[in-house]
Symmetry: C2
Subunit: 93 residues, 2 copies
């Protein structure tokens, strides 16, 4: 099982993921798109990747806005898998 | 523009939508599926219908769970369009 990362390690990693914020046991980013269609297309790409990796984000969608939250429930915190998914998700917006 | 419905009218309508709850300016239902794939398939069907109707729910997904919230921002409350979308969404789970 993956080990949860230290706050120091997470803050260090977020320097290269500047749109993400640390919120307790998770990292979070809000994405804004032109409309609902664009927003849902993004969610679909994230969903396909998540299913492939066996690691799933929490998703919230309000029209053209999508909030992605990443945590590793099995590890009880944020792991390298969350940072990897954050990097991949940033490449899709 | 659609008129917001009275609380009395909403409570009356929810008698035929028993899994939905009234929460301030919106109605809400939580759906549980077998896995993420099933949950996202449901969200996709809801998204396609919403885009077709030009009326969009707020969606929250945590693995196999999907929470759908319906309100009409332009009317400042719950309208018949929300009840229609709730009925349609219930037919998809």
């Amino acid at each position: 099982m993956a080990e949860p990362l230290s706050v120091e390690r997470i803050r260090d990693a977020l320097q290269t993921l500047p749109a993400w914020e640390l919120a307790h046991d998770r990292i979070r980013r809000s994405y804004r798109f032109a409309d609902f269609s664009q927003a849902f297309a993004f969610m679909t790409r994230v969903a396909l990747l998540a299913e492939k990796q066996g690691h799933h984000p929490e998703l919230r969608n309000v029209y053209s806005r999508v909030v992605v939250e990443l945590t590793s429930h099995d590890a009880g915190g944020i792991t390298e898998r969350d940072l990897e998914l954050a990097r991949a998700t940033d490449g899709m917006d």
